[in-house]
């Protein structure tokens, strides 16, 4: 329990640091938000009024805290280009991206665990180099290139989905999942290769440890040792890795959404960067960073459940 409290405190501190960094960075570059919202032909009086409304006349730290409290109560500011609250713009896109990330994560876990196990068991076999080479190839193909191929092959040639025509999640959930599945696969493939590689080396490392010899001296076969002892011991590094994967998928989704024409956060982010719509960029960046920090913390908490040694605070 104590560990959880400490970990969550660390989580909050990192979140505050990250949000502060982001706020400060955007505060410096975004120029005059009042001007950006009202346009260039606004009168000085109206600009002044807007500045007061936005609280721009207050000191920097006060602005930061009102932004932060606003952030947690769902008030993310007003978009420059849409003149609408950022929160209402982001919510539907957040849903799409989250769904895609989840699908991708499930694909990664379902595919890499058995593949990684197998590749570890056969690591000294004759075809190890074939597996390694295939893995390196999968890591080498850029996700967006894969996306172009997949959307052409399955979308245009085989017509399993219609590229560019993304169904509304609320109305056609199955259709949306089907559409997102193809994008999720493109994000997943390089990550699967990395996860398999990580699993392979983790399991091999564990199999060389002394306790494996002890277990064999008790009459276990190697496969039993793997099942009863090694898997559990390999689980913690694997979960940490999957936590990082969760973060990397979000990064990968930015490009893949663009190719597949998925109206998610990534696509919105890129558009907002091009439009210099800083409130939107800022909100998206902070949300994505929180997502990454959160998945890392969840991974740590699960790891701690499995490995009681971590509860002592062995890791800084």
């Amino acid at each position: 329990m104590k560990f959880a409290v400490r970990r969550i405190t660390a989580l909050l501190i990192t979140m505050i640091m990250v949000s502060f960094l982001a706020f400060a960075a955007f505060h410096m570059i975004s120029g005059d938000p009042a001007q950006a919202i009202l346009g260039t032909n606004a009168t000085p009086e109206r600009l002044e009024l807007m500045r007061q409304q936005l609280g721009l006349d207050k000191p920097f730290l006060v602005q930061y805290f009102s932004w932060l409290t606003g952030f947690f109560s769902g008030n993310l500011g007003i978009s420059y280009s849409y003149r609408q609250p950022v929160a209402s713009l982001i919510m539907p896109k957040l849903k799409v991206t989250l769904l895609m990330v989840m699908i991708s994560f499930v694909i990664i876990v379902v595919c890499s665990l058995p593949l990684g196990l197998r590749s570890a068991q056969k690591a000294s076999g004759r075809f190890d180099w074939v597996r390694t080479t295939i893995g390196q190839l999968c890591m080498a193909v850029p996700a967006f290139f894969l996306s172009i191929l997949v959307s052409y092959l399955f979308g245009i040639v085989l017509k399993w989905f219609t590229p560019g025509d993304f169904p509304k999640i609320d109305r056609n959930f199955a259709g949306a999942v089907r559409y997102l599945f193809f994008a999720a696969v493109c994000i997943a493939i390089p990550r699967i290769a990395m996860t398999v590689r990580m699993l392979r080396s983790t399991i091999i490392q564990e199999m060389e440890k002394d306790y494996v010899r002890t277990a064999i001296s008790r009459g276990n076969d190697r496969s039993e040792v793997l099942r009863k002892h090694v898997l559990k011991n390999s689980l913690v590094p694997t979960i940490t890795f999957l936590g990082q994967t969760m973060a990397e998928i979000v990064g990968g989704s930015i490009v893949v959404e663009q190719v597949f024409g998925i109206p998610g956060m990534g696509r919105f982010l890129v558009a907002s960067i091009s439009n210099r719509d800083y409130p939107v960029v800022e909100a998206l960046v902070v949300i994505l960073a929180f997502w990454v920090i959160l998945s890392g913390t969840v991974a740590d908490l699960i790891g701690q459940k499995i490995d009681p040694r971590l509860r002592l605070g062995g890791r800084a």
Binding site: D210, Y211, S217, R218, N220, D221, K228, N233, D307
Partner: protein, 294 residues
């Protein structure tokens, strides 16, 4: 009980044989000490007996008979039945030899889980009995601890408990006390002696420390570079070493320890002590200080 005949083991990535023709026997209820410095092949010998040689990475020949049955060339399914049930093994580093994520009790009863159809409650009862046997305080609590929650000495006792829980006829002890400090070492030796007497277990006790071996074993074999250079009753080897290597090993033992040894030997077999005096050069120094070794 155990018979090793002309055992040879050579690892593919080494030029020299790790074990180059070793033969010895251990009778029912006997403790044999196997002494030698690291790399002399004593651990490899033990691994061959326990069926733990990495067979793909070495060449091996000779015979290893446990209760008359061959271990060296037996197939895996046979070894499986013998490992843990007829042969128990205790390794040097208790901390790394235990699965860090499995409770100590579960590791102790793992042998029973593999080799018997006991019910879980029965297994737990036996595991706690074994933990009691190795004189752990509060065995029920230890049963539910993780390895990192116990001290080195307690862990090694648990390892011994795991090795004896199925009452194997043969216990292989590969430097079981080396990683422990001296007082714990002495306790473990006493414990092993008790187990030997109580259950009539045969033991192969491996150590690089001749002095430790002397306390537990009536017979000792000295290994160097893969061969046994000297074998005999412990007191004979200790007081009248024939081979230069054994003499060298003995010269490394502090003199005051030898005095105590001599005193003990006197009380045990008073007829054989005359030549023992040769060893005690500084015989009078600090006999008291030496007593903590006992």
């Amino acid at each position: 009980m155990l018979e090793v005949r002309d055992l040879h083991v050579k690892f593919h990535n080494r030029d020299r044989e790790a074990v180059a023709g070793v033969s010895f026997t251990i009778r029912e209820g006997e403790i044999l000490g196997l002494v030698g410095e690291s790399g002399s092949g004593k651990s490899v010998t033990a691994m061959s007996i326990a069926g733990l040689l990495p067979r793909k990475k070495c060449d091996y020949r000779g015979d290893v008979l446990v209760d008359g049955e061959d271990m060296l060339h037996a197939d895996r399914s046979f070894l499986r039945k013998v490992q843990g049930s007829k042969i128990g093994v205790v390794f040097q580093e208790p901390m790394s030899a235990m699965d860090p994520l499995m409770k100590v009790g579960k590791q102790v009863e793992e042998v029973l889980e593999i080799h018997t159809d006991m019910k879980p409650e029965e297994r737990k009862k036996r595991a706690i009995e074994a933990l009691t046997d190795v004189e752990l305080p509060d065995p029920e609590a230890v049963y539910d601890k993780y390895p990192h929650e116990l001290s080195g000495g307690m862990l090694q006792r648990s390892m011994i408990a795991a090795a004896i829980v199925s009452r194997p006829g043969l216990l292989l002890l590969d430097e079981p006390t080396t990683a422990l400090d001296v007082t714990i070492q002495a306790q473990i030796l006493k414990l092993l002696e008790k187990l030997n007497k109580e259950y009539g277990m045969s033991m192969l006790f491996i150590s690089h420390n001749l002095n430790v071996v002397r306390k537990l074993c009536k017979r000792v074999a000295v290994m160097q570079k893969g061969v046994i250079v000297e074998e005999g009753l412990t007191d004979d080897v200790f007081f009248r070493p024939q081979h230069p290597y054994t003499q060298h090993l003995i010269a490394c033992i502090p003199a005051r320890v030898k005095v105590i040894a001599k005193k003990n030997a006197e009380s045990r077999m008073p007829t054989e002590l005359t030549e023992g005096t040769v060893l005690s050069v500084n015989a009078e120094t600090d006999v008291k200080g030496g007593e903590r070794y006992e």
